[in-house]
Symmetry: D2
């Protein structure tokens, strides 16, 4: 394996706050350590089409606090094909890119792993997704910001819920993982959370809500993890009849959960993993994701990182239950 | 007319940030000037049912920064009836309430006006609504906060819109008035606003959006004022075909627009009009709304305040157009 | 007077949030109406040294929400001299700039006025200062944001003040004007404000604070307008002896009051006055400041705008007094 | 040891955001598990003077998002004395309090430990301090919020620093620990941090700053951890001469760092440790602090928790250095 001189960097999949902080960290740590940095625009799409530009430290100046990604992002239809990957590889060769840093979620890192294997390239993943569903890192870049964004939104909704004595079902993002829903429910002081990791019995839920409302609470907030079939609307409809005196409402937070200036945590996580990506390359690591576990930077094989069974702490369910009395 | 000794205060209709600041102002200015203050809970509903409690300065301590209303609010079904109003009047007599301060929007002040006329009571309205649709005051309590909340949400959505190069239709509140949509569109740097005051030709809109996108912009945000028939979803569906390469998305901000800690403007407006309500009572004013116009506290007859033709500044349309190039 | 083709734009003096929104508005409205726009960096300093760059609509893309000024700002030592002004004029001629839009406060607009008179140039001022001390406009660009920033800071300080039952003197900006101090005091629910427009008797202040504390309040916040001699430290020292059981603390908010993303109001004010500046030029206006009064865009002669006697609404003092009981 | 029936709860020492969330969690989890809860006001001072009130779930309703502490806090002069502790113990006996939950920092938990040993009482500590200087827990309650507050303030200051091309020394809290300074410096993209864990050579610092400024950066921010002798003012004075063309400024963030609504992290940490405190009591634990380490709730002997050598991750210094080029 020849010495790595030029590192390509891209963001891919859904955007997440902190991606820019990660781009900055990879770029600056790379340059600090003597590498050339080339920015690849629009994820794998830009790799295929050669939308590439050399980056200096100035290109990433002032972006640490910006939401979204200055490199743009996309979900490429062509990259999963053999022809797409071949063209992407040719771009790398043509641009003299020896290693690739990919900031993204499950799908993006799966793509990186397959690409790396096929063409024997050094691919380093950074966990950039609001869903926190990557294995081997305590948190993903973007998760903390989105959790706080949800909390601020629900804090606002609670003002209305309490003033009007309403029941709200608030739908939040998270894909197949309930991290955002469960943790934001605790942070908001919500009465309940509906998450994919646990089956929810509508009758039990209604019973639980009624108990709280009978006591002294006159309003109620339930956080519901997004789901193609059983979102907030579904549960609201199912329990409405049980609460004839109440106004039952639904709020789907939607796209605003992705943006905004990243929190301190997300900026620090992005900075540490970004520096870690460069160190990994210098150490000869390949096809790993850089994460932070137990407050230490760790290298996780990409094949591990994309495992679908990131452990969910069931104790959080009890915490929410005991506090929502 | 006997001297007024006891003032009842209530919030009614949709909650708005700054209502608590207004409750505090009326209570403290009332007590400062020798009145007794009685808090009426749940709007007209509580007036009918006698949900009333004397207030001291401590009852309103620390509430200036809280969203919602500590007095709760409701839309009463009974109050519009003769019997409901009769019962409400009996409560007033029983509680010794000589004057009523009602914080609310169009419907609530209309109710106050009719009630005042029928029973010859002193009713003072404060403009408490996020929609800014009350005549005779430059701004209503809650409007500034909601405008900033919308702006923050759209700033977040823009991060995603730019990263993914998407077109977003964002639906905001405002009832029959486009103040929130038009002004927040300018504040967000949106590409266009769809408001009830202006008819929107879908073809022209699509043409306008295309021009911008063809130039250099790769994303686009259109703010749409809520409407039972022609909301954001309607317009998104109508223009989708015109943008085959783009991802067209809809975000309905919904209930989170009402809550949150009020801005400085809303707290000051609530404080000034709350003090103004007590002064109005001391001056023998009746059946007026207290507003602020040209930076002066003014008294507007309730019959004027609820007029439906609050002037909308058409120049703002041109401002948005020139800046969205 | 020849037809104006090219407009120069600069920011000068202390930075204020919303300056970027104004730069964007002038640039885009200018280009919308067929003008060339040239950006001048570092205020008058850059005009003297020729730090100038043509601007397109893209140069101002995405800046509406940014604090500070992308054009940088400075207080020039050379510009007040004859030689400095001569060199500045020569730059204008060389660059073909026919009109100058200056965004800044009192000093900057005074400079613009003198320069305009001396060389018979079209100078248009925009009121860019957090202090709100320009005559003829209800608000200046930056004032609303800073008022909200102060409010957020004092809301935080109050948490500590109440938890520890302390007395806080909080010093805020405003130069020779008490707008920020008086209005933020109302917005924060502070117990008192010390402003340059009113003389403050320390004994009376202490008496007033004691009365409040004796009643039920266990903490107290006094907002003090900055002053070279009599700032927060001065008043804290003077009243300390009167409150032996209390912890008296001082907080000087300082530079953080200037920055941050502008509020909706400031972005809209900047947008409207920026568009107004271009309209003024098209109408042949010269040496005026564009403001907004009674919600209408107005043109104020620069000589008027810099008058030092912008009226201060004394009724606000009574509002604060009645509400701090 | 008799069965524990009644639990006293108090906050002590400097207030920290999230203390209210912890009070709520202990109260609700306690009641959920059959205990009586008694609230002790003003820390040890209130324990000595018997300022105690029984709490129900309603007493803690709506406080999860509030900064400060509804139980007030104080630094007691009497408690460290034998007589003070004796009186405190007598209050416990009189009130029938069998176990004490103390939310506070180093000093407060030291007091709890000594008190527990002397009178053989069950004392449980919760880590409530913004400084993050308690051993055995990854984070303390309040730390995350304060880190974000500092970040927001410095983001604002940077707007001014860049607009005016200034050098800023920003002083932040942290007592003898540099966690806040070092981590917020990374989060803010500051150029350097001065922390108690590392000695700082002024000449080297100036050299480092000059290198950055010479390159392309025109402004510079240095975060300085508070220190009685060598705060931000000290370093600013020392390096001023080295930067004759620059405006060197100091900003001391001060008390506003303590307050504000807690972040999601702090609310969740407070909720988990609060529930953990009740579980610890049910398990017969005594004289431990409840923390969260590696995302698990842990019990740390109080004698360990107050050790002064919480490990500081030196790698963070390198992260900051590489990214501030």
């Amino acid at each position: 394996m020849a010495k790595i001189k030029t590192i390509g960097i891209m963001t891919s999949g859904g955007d997440a706050p902190g991606m820019n902080a990660a781009i900055r960290a990879v770029t600056r740590a790379g340059i600090s350590n003597g590498f050339n940095i080339k920015a690849i625009y629009r994820g794998y799409e830009g790799l295929i089409n050669g939308e590439i530009k050399p980056f200096t430290t100035e290109n990433v100046s002032g972006i640490i606090g910006m939401g979204g990604t200055i490199l743009k992002t996309a979900r490429s239809k062509e990259f999963p094909t053999d022809e797409g990957q071949q063209r992407a590889y040719e771009t790398l060769v043509k641009e003299g890119i020896d290693a690739l840093v990919v900031i993204g979620g499950n799908g993006s890192l799966t793509g990186a792993m397959e690409f790396a294997r096929k063409f024997d390239i050094c691919c380093i993943g950074l966990p950039g997704t609001i869903d926190n569903d990557l294995y081997g890192t305590d948190n993903t870049i973007g998760y903390d910001t989105t959790m706080n964004t949800i909390m601020e939104c629900v804090d606002r909704i609670r003002d209305t819920a309490q003033s009007h004595e309403r029941i709200f079902f608030v739908e939040v993002m998270g894909r197949d993982a309930g991290f955002l829903a469960q943790n934001s429910a605790i942070a908001c002081g919500a009465e309940a959370a509906i998450i994919p990791e646990e089956s929810t019995d509508v009758d039990q839920l209604a019973e639980f809500m009624k108990r709280g409302i009978r006591k002294s609470k006159k309003s109620c907030i339930v956080i519901v993890s997004e789901s193609p079939k059983c979102g907030a609307m579904y549960y609201a409809d199912r329990v409405k009849n049980e609460f004839p005196d109440y106004d039952v409402r639904v709020s789907i937070l939607g796209h605003l959960q992705r943006g905004g200036t990243p929190t301190a945590r997300d900026r620090i996580l992005a900075s540490r993993t970004g520096v870690g990506a460069i160190e990994a390359i210098m150490q000869g690591q390949r096809n790993i994701m850089v994460g932070v576990r137990n407050n230490e930077v760790v290298y996780v094989p990409l094949s591990e990182a994309i495992r679908s069974d990131k452990p969910f702490d069931k104790k959080l369910i009890k915490v929410l239950e005991e506090l929502s009395i």
